[in-house]
Structures are given as C-alpha cells and as structure tokens.
Amino acid sequence: MNEMWDAVVVGGGLAGWIAGIRAAQRDKKVLLVTEGVGTLFYFSGIFDYGDVVRLRHLPKHPYTLFKAQEITQGQRFVQEICPEYVMKDTPQFAFTVLGTVRQGDLMPRSMVLPDQQEQGEFVILVPEGLKDFFPKIVAANMAREFPGWQVNEKRMKVGTLSEWTQLGKSVTSIDYASIWRSEEGQRALTLEIDQLKREYREAGRSSNKLVVVLPSLVREYFDSSRSKPYKNEFSLPILEMSSFVPSPHGRYFAEYLKHMFTDLGGELMMGARAAAINGKARSGSQTKVCQELVVNSMGKPLHLKSKKFILATGGFLGGGIKVGMARKSIREEVFDLPLFVPEKWSEPQFFAPQPFAQIGVETDALMRPLDPVCGQVIWDNVHVVGRMLAHWDPWTQRCGGGVSVTSGYAAAELI
C-alpha cells in the first residue's frame, strides 16, 4: 500500500466518525481504521454539551482548547448531517427510559419535552414485552415531573412477536426499533395511534393536547437512504424517550455515519488494529513527524502513509488506554503517548466525579500531544480527539458528545 492519505483516522467512535466525515466532506483523501464500534452502543440519542461557559473556565478542560465559535461549528455540523437535531439557547429536556427528565443540548426534535407549565395528556404506548422498560414507573415519574399533565398507558402488540412474548421472552429495544422501520411496524403504529385518536373522539374528548410517548427511536432521522423505504406521519404528535442500552440510537447512528462517510468517498478499514508507527524527528527539533501507521488487518501488517493522523481510540472505556494490574502500567496503545494520570485515583462515593476519569493526553491548542515534562509537542502531525483528551469527566460534567464532536470537527479542519 503505497498510497499517501491526507489523513488516517484511528478509531470509529463519535469523534473519529465526525473527523472522518468532515475531512471527506472537505474533499480530503481520508481513511478511517477501526477495531470495533466504540461506545456508541449506549448513545442515549442526545449530544450533551454541558455548561460550556463554566467548563471553559476549568483549567485544562478540553473546551479550553477551542474557540467558542468552533464549538458552535461542531453543533451546526451535527445539525447539518442530522437535520432532525435541534438546539436552543435555553435548556432542552427529554425523558430517560425511566420517565424522569434529563437535560440535553442537541437532541432530536421528537425527543424535546413540552413546557412543564402547560397542561396536556401523555399516553405511553407500551410495546408488549419490551425489555428493561417499566411502564408503571415511567408513568409515575412522568406524572410527578409534569404535575399539570395526565398520564395514561396503552399496551400494544405486534403480530410477529406475539408467540415470542407468550413464551415469556422479552424483546429488546433494538429489535423493536427494527420492527418500527419495517412496513408492518409502521402500519401497526399508525393503526394504534389512529385508534387512540378515534377512542378520544368517541368519548367526546378533545385530542388536541394529546401526546403519544414511545420508547426510543421510532422516527427515522438517521436516514442512511439505503434500506429505508418508509417515512410516516402519524395522526397525533409523537414524543420519543431517550435510549437505554443496547441503544437503538447508537446502532442506527453508527450505521448512518458509516454510510455518510463512505458516500463522501472516505475509505474504511474495519476490524484492524494499530500495531506500530514509524516517524522521525525534524532536523533541529525534538518534534517528530509520523510517516506511517502499521495496522494488522486479517493477519497481515499494512503500512499506511499519511500526512496527518487523528487519534480517536477513546479512553479506557473505548480501549485506547489500557490500565494494567494495580496501575503498574497505564498506556496509550497506538503512539505510546505520555498520559496525564491523577495522583488520587478514585473517590469513595460511586456517583461522585472520579479522578480516574481525568486520565488522557494533554495537547496544545491544535490537539497535538505534549510532553508533560518539557511542554513540547511530541508529534507534529498527530491530533488527539474525543475521550483520549485529558482533564474531563463526560458523565459528571455532562459533556461527552460536546467534547467529541467539537474536537473531531476541529481536527478535520486542520487536515
């Protein structure tokens, strides 16, 4: 393989895909190398940005690497590739799978909750045997969160699954999501909703304020336009809940990103593991230039030459950082980059911000890895994105999507 790429993106999680797609969109010759699917399998469907202004004041938080404008550009980019995603100046909220309310920033239009001050009626449409979904709890939580609203449940069955549920087998939300994408599923939903509307009319009640609540992913805003023939409008407004794991949003979003990337001419190498790198120092400088990345694919080493390399292998959850027994070794796996490792490792309370979450690579403003001792850039043409960056906690700071999208997008702009 003697081709020369403009960029090789290592890692197929959110940050990697965003970098790859944006680079391809800019007509760059880009290759994305990935071992697995990253952590998208538990994407709630919402991009969290967190309190950007506050986080930008935290020393070393990844947001401090970017201009405010770059953060906005990343958001616009998501909206461009997923037009159903909306963001407002005021906070938006969505239902969790438990029917509690959680804040979110960039989310599908169909997930955004109505005003809590208003009055109306939610009807939860409960698909038979849906795994890890508890209608009673959901209804009680919704009623508590929306005091002015009535909450009702309506059970529904889908013909193809009835034998399965009669045996006591539950159905995952991934399976239901694929049913909703079929003609049969769409028909069943349409019928159910039409019937609901009819019942209201017959009972002499207005359905004006009626909102049908459905567990995650019924609408098809991740439209990869290859397998999807149907686009239905329903006779009542639909509100979707965010996803639980394994996430239908994650599954279809990953597929969508993949198609978008290859449609734009990006090249993809899956199931490949980065094995080694070759680079050399610039004359008169300690900063090195990476010339090629060696990956193992189907048992063979491939030498990938590129002008730029984007490191998007995730943190310790995604597998980009390996933490050995008793933390005797903590390693970034591809470039063996030095890592920031907090002195205190964990907090005694499970739900507290955990120091270990801050582990990662420290970079300059161009996301190039720094030597923590002398502060110099180690690799001139390597950019670190997403969870691999140091000094943040996606869960307690609620900014996982924000950092990944912003850094992925900004890296693509550097190619």
Binding site: Y42, D132, Q166, G168, F244, V245, M325, E347, F350, R398
Partner: protein, 539 residues
C-alpha cells in the same frame, strides 16, 4: 416497651447462631434469635466458601483437622444443595519445605483425611492454569459451600420447627438479676422500639461482636479480630479447590464458585468488628502470592475485593497469640464457671465448616441446663426435603434447566408459588439478574419476606448484584419491584445509591483493567443514560 417471653435467646444471625436456632427448634426448645443487621452480614458471608477437608490444619492443629473432616462428611450428606463436591488439591511446589510435606501426609492419615496423589501429567491436563512449578499434587475431599444458601436452609428448617428470629434488632444489654440471666434488652432498629426479652438462657454467638456482648455486663471474652482479605476473579479458573501444600499462610487458597473464583486470604489483627475495607496494598500483596500457583494471574479480571473478620479465640494458655498461630478450634464459655453468672454461654472461635458441631455443643449445654433430654438430630436430618419433581419439571419447562436448577436450590420448598406465578404470567420469568439467573417472580417472592428491608438485604437473599455486573444492570432491572415493595421514587433512588455504594467499596481496591472499563460503563449508565444526579465529592 414490647415484651417477649421465650426459653432461649440466641444473639447473632451468622451460621453458628442460625445453626443453634435450628438445633434448639429440632429439640423442641422455644428460642428467639436476634441479629443487629441482616442475617449473614458478617463473617458468615465474608469467607472463601471452602468446606474444609481438614487438610489445611493437619500439621498445626490435629483436633481442628479432625473436626473438619467429620463435619465435611456430615454437611455433604445433610446439605448437598449448598455444596459442590469439587474435591480439592494440595499442591507442593519445588521451593516448598519437604519436611512439612512428610508431616502433612502423616497428619492426614492420623486425622482420617483420605488423600490420593495425582500424577503431574494428569494434574496439568485437568487444571491447565496450575503452575508448572508444582512437583506433587494430592487430592483431598475439600468442597465448596454457598454460605448464604446454607444459612437460609438452616433458618427455614428452624422456622418449620417453630424457631423465631428478628433481624435489625440490636441487643442493648443483658438482663441480669442475682447472678442469673433473665434475658436481654434489645432495640428494633427499624421502628426504634425497645424490646424486653425474657428467657432462661442467653447464647452469645455474635462472632466478632461476642466480646462487645459479653462486656455489656463486664465479662471478658478474649476475641482476636483477625481480618482476612479475599479477591473475586471473573472466571472459574480451576475446577477444584487449590491449596498450597505448605505451612498455612497468606494467599494460598483458590476456591471456584459457579462462574467466579475466590482467592485469599490475608491475616491482620484489627480493632473493629466491621472493618471490612480492603486496600490496594492487600490486593497487590495477594496477587504477588497468587503468582506462585497461577503465573498468569495478573491477566485475569478481578471483580472486587472483600474482607471478613475471623473471631479467633485466645485461650489463656495459648502460647502463640498472633493470627495464624491461634487455634481454629472453637470454645464454649460457660459464664457460670468463668464469671459466676448462670444461664449465659458464649460460643467463640471455629470455622464455617464446623458451625453445626458448634451448634450441637451449645445446644447440648442448653438442653442440659433446661433438663430437656432430647437428642441432637442435626447430623442426620437433611436441611431440605426431597423437592417435588412435579414442581421441578415445570420450572425446567418454563425457565430451562440451568435457571430452574439454580432457582430450586435457592428456594427449595418455597419454589412452588414462584413457578405458579411464572406459569400464569410468563413474562415474570424474565431475568432481573442474568449472571445468577434470578427471575422477576423470584425477586417478588423474596420481597414478600418481612425480613427484607432494603435492596442490600435482597442481594443477600437472591444474590442479585453479586455477579459480574456488580449491580449495574440488575439493580436497574429490579426497579419496578423495589418501587412496589418500598414505595416511592425517592426511596428507590436511595436504595440504588446504597447498593451501588456498597459494591463500589469492594471495587475501588481493584480498579484497573477490564473492571475499570466495567465500572466506567456503570457510571455512564447511571449518570448519563438514566440521568442520575452526580454527588459532590467529600474531601
């Protein structure tokens, strides 16, 4: 103040206390057991789950070894559903002491422990992870025992014969008059109510807390609280129990349980009876020792670390007063002889393997005092009746053989109603806990038990949260059942926090590798996907 009248009060709901309750009940002696927490929250749930053959003690403590082998045989007979007859190996390494080996072989013969040498080639084939440094391997009748199951089986049997118990009921003081025990004063920790229990005899079986109980009336019971730390590995690394054939020391026992392996232990004297925290040094120390038996041990995922307190008895004439030197024997202290007070007895020391024998000795003593001539039947009468095959067949039909068998072992005679519930409503057969294969119907059944006050109590009854997810998924799946039982969203969230906090204490000392990833996943699940509020960290 509530008043209760009985013949015997047993203080302590561990294996010994519950064993005593059963023995008393079988002999028709009315008794009430009082436990400050949930049953088995102390040492009885904090050990390696090894049913000793006695092999470990033959050189140092022939009497303990003999007791072990006798009880080992009895328990295999009366409680087969709590025991897996894995057998055990004693592995002698190149570097180990040849004199000890000779003494050990002789000791086993004297104690009546059957041993059989396993040819090395066969040993490496049967247990591939075993170190190639092994030079001789001997098989002994070790087995693994589920301490929770054993305790609940004893309790259910005791209840059938009229035995009573109350959990979350803490003894405040002993009731003494004219050098005679008249009962105890206790506090119901759930309602806050004070209880006066009138009895002829009080049995102090409080394990690591026995000295506290005795000192309430100024009596001295010398307990050495010896902390042993253990690690839980994510795999079943061995088919059998693996012991190192040397002078008993730290880190030389691997015990397989279902899909995990428990490895330990350490030995440190501590001050507090509930000092259960393991620190990272203990873990690295243990792993270093474990390498002697499994070279690749660092590659295996550790799910959690935990510790238990051995309540070792220091008799006055013992010469060696530190940890492993103290006898693993038990002692019955008659406070009439020791302190001149009638009706009070303390049972101290011992091991889980000998719990039944300890209970028998205590009950013999009590029966003597009460002049009840009935004989002990606990060595013969099985802990559970033959299960109805009809129920079992139906359970297998509904849940599949693996899940059905596990449930039948846990629920025993009470499985009938759970199986019925699943038959009526098949979706109740969904698993709340996939590791331990606990169904919704079984959780609902457990929640009906008035002794279950929290998710953590439920964990001990159903093993929910004890598997590889450490509560991340099963806690979530138990939500509707918890809400129903405890009422209200806030309480449910609180129960989540307590359980996950308790699990976290065992995870933090082993927070690396795959377990770190798993924990990060749990954090993402609760803090992000389910939108729980983050706590402030307390400095």
């Amino acid at each position: 103040m509530r008043q209760i009248d009985t013949q015997v009060v047993v203080i302590g709901g561990g294996a010994t206390g519950v064993g005593i309750l059963r023995d008393l009940s079988l002999r028709g002696i009315p008794a009430l057991l009082l436990e400050q927490g949930d049953l088995a929250h102390g040492t009885s749930s904090r050990f390696h789950g090894l049913l000793h053959s006695g092999g470990r003690y033959v050189v140092k403590d022939g009497k303990a070894a003999q007791e072990c082998i006798e009880e080992n045989k009895i328990l295999k007979k009366i409680a087969p559903h709590c025991i897996e007859e894995t057998s055990g190996w004693f592995v002698y390494l190149k570097e180990d002491d040849p004199n000890y080996l000779q003494l050990w072989i002789k000791g086993c013969a004297q104690a009546g422990i059957p041993i059989k040498e396993v040819p090395l080639e066969a040993a490496f084939r049967l247990e591939p992870l075993l170190t190639r440094q092994a030079t001789r391997v001997f098989e002994v009748p070790d087995a693994t025992v589920d301490g929770f199951k054993l305790l609940w089986a004893n309790l259910k049997s005791a209840q059938k014969y009229g035995g009573n118990y109350q959990t979350y009921c803490k003894v405040q003081s002993l009731w003494l008059e004219n050098r005679q025990v008249l009962g105890v004063y206790a506090k119901d920790l759930i309602t806050g109510e004070m209880i006066q229990v009138h009895s002829k005899i009080v049995v102090n079986a409080a394990g690591p807390w026995s000295s506290e109980i005795a000192s309430m009336s100024g009596f001295d019971v010398q307990i050495q609280k010896d902390k042993g730390s253990l690690l839980v590995f994510n795999q079943r690394m061995f088919k059998r129990v693996i012991n190192r054939l040397r002078k008993p020391g730290d880190g030389d026992i691997f015990v397989p349980h279902e899909t995990v392996t428990i490895f330990g232990t350490t030995s440190h004297t501590v001050e507090l009876a509930d000092d259960h925290q393991v620190d990272e040094q203990d873990v690295t120390y243990l792993i270093g020792l474990g390498q002697n038996l499994v070279e690749e041990i660092e590659q295996y995922r550790i799910i959690r670390a935990f510790a238990g307190i051995r309540p070792l008895y220091e008799s006055v004439d013992a010469l060696d007063h530190e940890g492993r030197g103290v006898s693993r024997n038990f002692a019955l202290i008659d406070h009439e002889q020791k302190d001149g007070v009638r009706g009070l007895v303390s049972i101290v020391g011992g091991k889980l393997t000998t719990y039944r024998m300890m209970a028998e000795k205590v009950t013999d003593w009590v029966a003597g005092k009460l002049e009840v001539p009935t004989e002990c039947r606990t060595a013969e009468e099985p802990l559970q009746n033959e299960l109805a095959t009809a129920v079992w067949d139906k359970a297998r039909q509904l849940l599949g053989a693996a899940a059905a068998d596990k449930m039948m072992e846990r629920l025993n005679e009470q499985a009938g109603s759970v199986v019925e519930a699943i038959a009526r409503q098949p979706l109740l057969g969904q698993f709340v806990c996939e590791c331990e294969m606990v169904t919704q119907a079984e959780v609902l059944h457990a929640l009906q038990d008035p002794a279950v006050h929290s998710l953590d109590d439920l964990r001990r009854q159903t093993r929910l949260g004890m598997g590889t997810c450490q509560g991340a998924y099963c806690t979530y799946r138990a939500t509707p059942l918890l809400q129903e039982a405890f009422g209200g969203w806030e309480r449910t969230v609180k129960e989540y926090q307590i359980l996950l906090g308790e699990r976290w204490r065992g995870i933090t000392p082993v927070l690396w590798g795959e377990q770190l990833r798993e924990s990060e996943l749990a954090r993402a699940l609760f803090l992000n996907v389910l939108g729980f509020k983050a706590e402030e960290s307390v400095e």
